[in-house]
């Protein structure tokens, strides 16, 4: 997202004062109207809808009815995001610092999954983990899975699929922030007697945190709202918030509860993001 850019450096030409005040607003007009009608007003409608037939009790019901599902959703998204950092950071570091002339090729490899339709690549995960396929056979052979054990319909299958689907969103922003680092800083560190580990911890890592922050949001937020992975790879015990909404969105009498549930999901994510921004000390959110 809009990580980087920052305030400070304003390139030449930005921020002309228009001779006529209304010029920028005419340019913005159509887009603003569209966003107001189909983004802002729907959110207001969602808030209003969540208070229908029952008022605030809809919200307390959300937690009593779906407490376990809400907890599971955020746990899945959290673990998937954490694993994405663990898998993605070293890869982004490798591409930015070590890949040399293979840089472009590796970046293309990271983006490649996006060239396959979301649903089709999730189905491909199902094929990989299906019945007694290669992955299951391997896990049974290593003893990580019992002889009749299966991978489908487990927490691991759903988290793994979320991780897979959103991993490129983690790698790319981290790569961008690592790539932007002034190489002279990395050369200066050893001159000041920092060893490799110290250079990484004191220079590289702090400078790449905006990338980690952006990547975490881009992984965590879509994971929280997803129902495709849980539906295709999980069973009844892997349901997420999205699955509840997906099952009920066409039933008129459930709409207030579903509105309340969506609203809670949104607020919890917002709260989580603000908390995370605080912990990481990143202020370049917007």
């Amino acid at each position: 997202m809009a990580i980087g850019g920052g305030a400070g450096a304003k390139p030449a030409g930005e921020g002309l004062r228009p001779s006529k005040r209304w010029v920028p607003w005419v340019l913005l007009g159509p887009g603003l109207v569209w966003l107001s009608l189909f983004f802002v007003i729907p959110l207001v409608e969602l808030g209003r809808g969540s208070l229908k037939n029952g008022g605030l009790s809809n919200f307390s019901n959300v937690f009593s009815d779906n407490g376990e599902v809400i907890l599971r959703t955020f746990l899945y998204a959290f673990v998937a995001t954490l694993l994405a950092v663990i898998l993605g950071y070293p890869l982004a570091y490798f591409i930015a610092m070590k890949a040399g002339r293979f840089k472009t090729l590796l970046l293309a490899a990271v983006v490649l999954p996006f060239f396959v339709t979301y649903l089709i690549r999730t189905l491909a995960w199902k094929i990989l983990l299906f019945g007694d396929g290669p992955v299951v056979a391997f896990l049974r052979w290593t003893g990580m899975l019992s002889r009749n054990g299966e991978v489908l319909n487990t927490h691991a299958a759903v988290i793994g699929a979320l991780l897979y689907n959103f991993l490129p969103f983690m790698v790319l922003p981290i790569y961008v922030s690592l790539d932007k680092i002034d190489r002279r800083l990395l050369e200066a560190a050893p001159d000041l007697y920092a060893d490799g580990r110290r250079t990484f911890l004191a220079v590289t890592l702090p400078l790449s945190l905006p990338g980690v922050f952006a990547g975490s949001l881009l992984t965590f937020i879509p994971s929280c709202g997803d129902f495709v992975n849980a539906e295709l790879l999980g069973g009844d015990r892997q349901r997420m918030i999205g699955n509840i909404i997906e099952k009920n969105f066409l039933r008129d009498n459930f709409r207030p509860q579903m509105s309340a549930l969506s609203f809670v999901l949104m607020l919890l994510i917002l709260g989580g993001v603000l908390l995370y921004a605080r912990v990481l000390g990143t202020e370049e959110l917007a």
Partner: protein
Amino acid sequence: MKVGRRWSSRVLGAWSGVVVAFLFAPIFVVVLFSFNEPGRKLANGTWVTGRYNYKWGRFSLNAWKEWNAYPGLTSAFYRSIRIALVVVLISTILGTLMSLALVKYRFKGKGIVNMLLILPLTMPEIVLGFSLLTLFVTANVSRGVITIVIAHVMFCVSYITTTVKARIRGFDWRLEEAAADLGANPWRTFTRVTFPIISPGIAAAALLTFALSLDDFIITYLNSGRVETFPIKIWITKRSSIPPQINVFGTVVLLVSLVLSVSGFLAQRRRTPT
């Protein structure tokens, strides 16, 4: 220390290799299983074709030869393409105008506009989709192709504006003034000076939007009524069967995107010799 360094960089390389393999495995499966004929062989040697393309049966070119055979899949695919084209057209115009306003001019309320553009990107699709559905239900709008286009444009405008903004930030707007000084009217200035310079950024953003629209499932599903886009068709089909034709379409989309991005990359490299 040197030895330790080499060792750690080898571990880093191996780890990266494993992660890339993780990203690649499902893609490989998509292509491979387009050549699959699911099913099993009976004791008497006859082949019973299965309905779910989850398990390897035997190698077959049938799905490629009869790519059009699965009812409704091809028409859903074409419908998705048509929707994506309309979405690209509308959101590119709206988004480009917005990014021009945001990059070229200084005005009060810019921060709020930027915020409004970022917010849809920070919300899970299910919330965006469900709130839009709530609006359509309250306003008694029946869902169909038009509501799908409305939904797609809503989130694509943000992507277009952000992308184009980033690409045209360095442009020296005094060139426009120079054109005006040389007697060009505003329209001529736009077509001869501004547009040629910002068009590569717009093209990149348009391509991204096309892919986003074609691929979108969650928001679309909630606001589609009975209209079936390609992802929705797959979602509905999965209850009764998963035909290998799905993988054929997946493979073709993959190849087309690959060709497009490689040629785009090469064209760009030719334009900027280093």
